[in-house]
Symmetry: D2
């Protein structure tokens, strides 16, 4: 239970440091007989990879996944799917400056305290590079859930907020711009803003909204493993995430029960959806939607004061190729984690009735 495994039946275990030989994982419990679209998986990896546009880090990591097992004649066999992404661009020199001092609001200090020492190259295990493995497994989960639609998009960058609800948006436009905001006008403003931030060597936070549609009724296991509790854990486990809300979320606090309650239609669907598609921890067939808050990336390309291992004050300078804002690349990660949660509950739900 050392923390590198996610899921119960559809279960991913990942390994790998930012600048080690390879990252990768084992996906256990994927049902047999699934004809895998490997291109779709690689496509999700490409949406996450560095260097894809001017507003993300310019590192060059092709992030090509190699599958080792669990697939035969193009189909999953029901045995564990082992995979690896080999590191090719290991510019370790870029990170020599972090060997001897702690970067503020990174995991350097706590890793040293917890484990006694750390692989400091590129952040080691604490690097968001690990999430590439999640995108691979999530890509498979999406195919297990072929009838579902899972769409994440950027709904806020810094102070710039998308003023429309997801129902008013054409989510097919998400990939039409480098920010991954489906409203082209807002996307343009966000892109401009990120570029400005980048010029200053600074960073800014953002919010990703995710919508899961066509979800069958019944997913989620009360009482601790409520569907939204697992979704929340999944999102909060992504690097830089600071908050999660679903349905009416923090705003719903202000409402009265009489207006917040979702009245039923005759078919069991509801007239409103403040519940966000989940009631009592179980999906009710309505759209599931939630927001995920990302803090500004901690690595700023500026000089700063900090301490070294022995508590001495030292001066340091942020350098390297980093994201000024993490949300555009985090969109496929949010989708992947959503798919992992839903696939797990989808399988669990097969065991509930006699």
């Amino acid at each position: 239970m050392a923390g590198n495994t996610f899921g119960t039946l559809f279960r991913l275990t990942t390994f790998g440091e930012s600048h080690g030989k390879a990252i990768g994982g084992v996906l256990d419990g994927c049902p047999s007989g699934l004809e895998l679209d490997l291109e779709a998986i690689q496509n999700d990896l490409d949406r996450r990879k560095p260097g894809q546009s001017a507003i993300v880090t310019q590192r060059k990591e092709p992030d090509t996944v190699e599958f080792y097992s669990g697939i035969f004649e193009g189909k999953t066999t029901g045995t564990p799917i082992g995979f690896a992404i080999h590191n090719t661009d290991q510019k370790s020199k870029d990170y020599s400056h972090i060997k001897d001092s702690y970067r503020p609001s990174h995991a350097d200090y706590v890793y040293d305290q917890k484990y006694g020492f750390r692989d400091y190259r590129g952040g080691g295990r604490s690097s968001a590079r690990e999430t590439a493995s999640r995108v691979v497994a999530g890509g498979i989960a999406k195919q297990v859930l072929a009838t579902l639609k899972i769409n994440a998009f950027v709904s806020q960058v810094g102070e710039i907020t998308l003023q429309k609800e997801y129902k008013e948006l054409d989510l097919t436009l998400t990939e039409s711009n480098p920010v991954r905001c489906p409203d082209p006008e807002t996307a343009a403003k966000m892109e401009e803003y990120i570029k400005d931030i980048k010029k200053e060597g600074d960073t800014v936070g953002g919010v990703i909204t995710c919508v899961a549609q066509n979800v069958p009724v019944g997913l989620g296991e009360p009482v601790f493993d409520k569907l939204h509790a697992e979704l929340g854990k999944a999102m909060l486990s992504i690097n830089a995430v600071k908050g999660f809300e679903f349905g009416s979320g923090f705003e719903g606090v202000k409402m009265r029960g009489s207006e917040h309650n979702d009245q039923f239609n005759k078919d069991g669907s509801t007239k409103t959806n403040y519940s966000g598609g989940i009631q009592g921890g179980i999906s009710n067939g309505m759209d599931i939607y939630f927001n995920v808050a990302f803090k500004p990336v901690a690595t700023v390309l500026q000089a700063y004061d900090t301490i070294d291992k022995d508590g001495n004050e030292v001066k340091a300078q942020g350098k390297g190729r980093h994201d000024p804002c993490v949300v555009p690349r985090a969109v496929p990660i949010v989708e992947a984690m959503t798919a992992l949660v839903l696939a797990d509950f989808f399988l669990l739900n097969r065991t509930v009735k006699l």
Copy 2:
């Protein structure tokens, strides 16, 4: 993995329906040799129980816990602690109206869909009554973590928001008023507001803030079981919760990295604490603080339209003794779940170094 177990090493499994014979649980993995203060546990139960003030449900449930095992001569033995809270006030008649129709924004509909039928009495397993078992186990967890301070309090009711940060507050005042808001002036407004809402037969949401202090550095397991990810799951598993944020949370999104980064002092503490005491998923020794959003209680004492099991439209009327606002009674639940998460990571952290 049917969802009624929480934790890895310090592990709670609960059982029980609102109007069954008893609710209760088994706490496994509690270290041996802990001298238990049973009064403190009962005290937390009393903070959660119905009927304690004019602004909560007037149901009468003494909620007296009986311990069956795992304690000998006043101390924990290291074996599982079994316990039960017997139900005494089973006014089943109050709930006969929900047998044949679905209450909006309750779990009635999804339970029927998922399991084929449901124990409809008082909401059955989906009732927040289950959380009493969590308070028992959390009370033990608090004693395992005797050097830590875990304080939750109400920071918002409807539109009324506590305008001070937790550091400006005297948290010992939390219990001085029925709302459990440590700012007496704000508390008075909230109390008034809840009373008004109650008169209308309506309900309203709220926010609970929780602060954990004196937490040792090193708790939390990357990458999936980050400390805040487990805290988030723990909170989201509480009935009526719609959102979770820690540290700078959703507001932090708007900040620049250069201002959001927490600069180090020489002793490893930080000058600011936007990180909320957690970096890279691991506690860094600073105060952990987070907000939990609760929706308005779904049961309103008003007439409403809904459907029955067969999809027929029916008229129904909310009745019974319910909370107009859930947050005052949820304060000890938030503390209990926080303690459960921290106790588990506290034990796990003993296994990390050679």
Copy 3:
């Protein structure tokens, strides 16, 4: 993971000490909609309980199970089934002699070493009394697996061995004698032998054979959770068990592959069944059969030398009401654990194919 939970989806957690207030458990993951035959469960408890015949302990423990949750209108609801068996005959005085010294080949010494102290009354948690909770849960598992036949019986007591294979026996005769050996002639010898042993204040070991029939093809999860590996763990977790073998077992070691291989019939069944119904860790539809070895009960009613907590040599005397041979009462326990394993894999197997 403190060791008091068994199973993944169909999952039992037990609690309770021999002479505490109650023993019991929580069975989570039982599918909804099962009409429970509570008498059948109590009947299995009666087969395990003390005082049922002249060759078992004469303690009086009615072992009546009380269900707290998870059952509504006679059917399982899919929520956790909490239950307790209250202790009524707590003759604590019988055990005062073990408070200050360690009984040889009991768990007294290791519990003190592991936990720092122990509930010494009647062996506390290490008492086989705990297995009553397993019999309750196993009784439910049997009903989940209504089409399967699970029959255990005594096949050896000391040197007296049942010389017939299970196929030659009429297993309905197992309950016809107090030894629970389905061969009346052998049973009579065993009974006589146990009575002799008892007169001497001594004890003796035995073997239980278990046969599971009508098991569907496909149960068991490679590679670590092979069906026979879980069965083996389940059996070895029963008090006093020293060995487990299935199919050809230890004898099969001497065979050639050419004779040991089970040739197929056209329908996938096999002409022989040295495999014991399991190949590659997965049930193949043939009868599953295995042997479980029980050591002689450690409590002998004789004087013995031992040590106290401080390492001083002391003299002690076995007393109380104990079993001269444990296997007659262990038959329903073996069946219960078999049913728990099979029910878990039965549910898991629903999740394997797309």
Copy 4:
């Protein structure tokens, strides 16, 4: 929980098919700061690998392990250790004959039934090749447990039984002969016997005995996760294993309690050790010893009748390079699984006392 993970805190997940691209695994929860002796690990792999002597399969698989993560500057970092063994000698043609028919007493039939189809090349996931990953992880576990001695050896091949107890043997002689029996005279007989069997194209079973010494008191978690229950599961999860017994085992059944009980010395050690170093599921500091029964290898190089997927009777012929007796190569596997179990309980035991 699809069965490819072993252990709770010290936890191995494996992947890979016999003739896929690679086999490997992820070892999570290995404590940080362990200086790894990689040669010792490769040495264990070499003890398991094919082609090492005349009495084992003549396949050529170098089985060189490549580590991807979790190790930095020669030491474990506390993060997951990912590793792979790439397949180099993929003679797929050898196995084309098994594509269309089921080999008796193999997993071919049950895999097809369970998963709908199978990777038939070399047995796919059901091949014992998977155990190489266990040997890697077990090699690390041995180093975590540096003060323990874990020695397995062959004690029976077919009818030839080692007539000495482990205490009479010089276990350093185990590696002095290809059979891995520490008694040279018996080893010579076993070797001759295996060669004869091999000439006939037949196979034979065997028994491995394992001894763990210097085990601290207190390992093992009652009640389900008894030390010997986990050891039993670990052993039974190894391919071809049919039985497990520890301490007095099946023979102990015949003894009286008065002779079987292990009397204490003043230091808590015992005068005899019928308990096999485990009482109440917890190690008592005495030597742990147990026997593991292996059936004859199912692949015989002879003609046989069988069925195909559609239930037609077909004739087939065993071919390829196979082991006539599996026990010599299984010795390091037994040691590895023993080390995995003990390392896990070693870490768990740190969490037991306050």
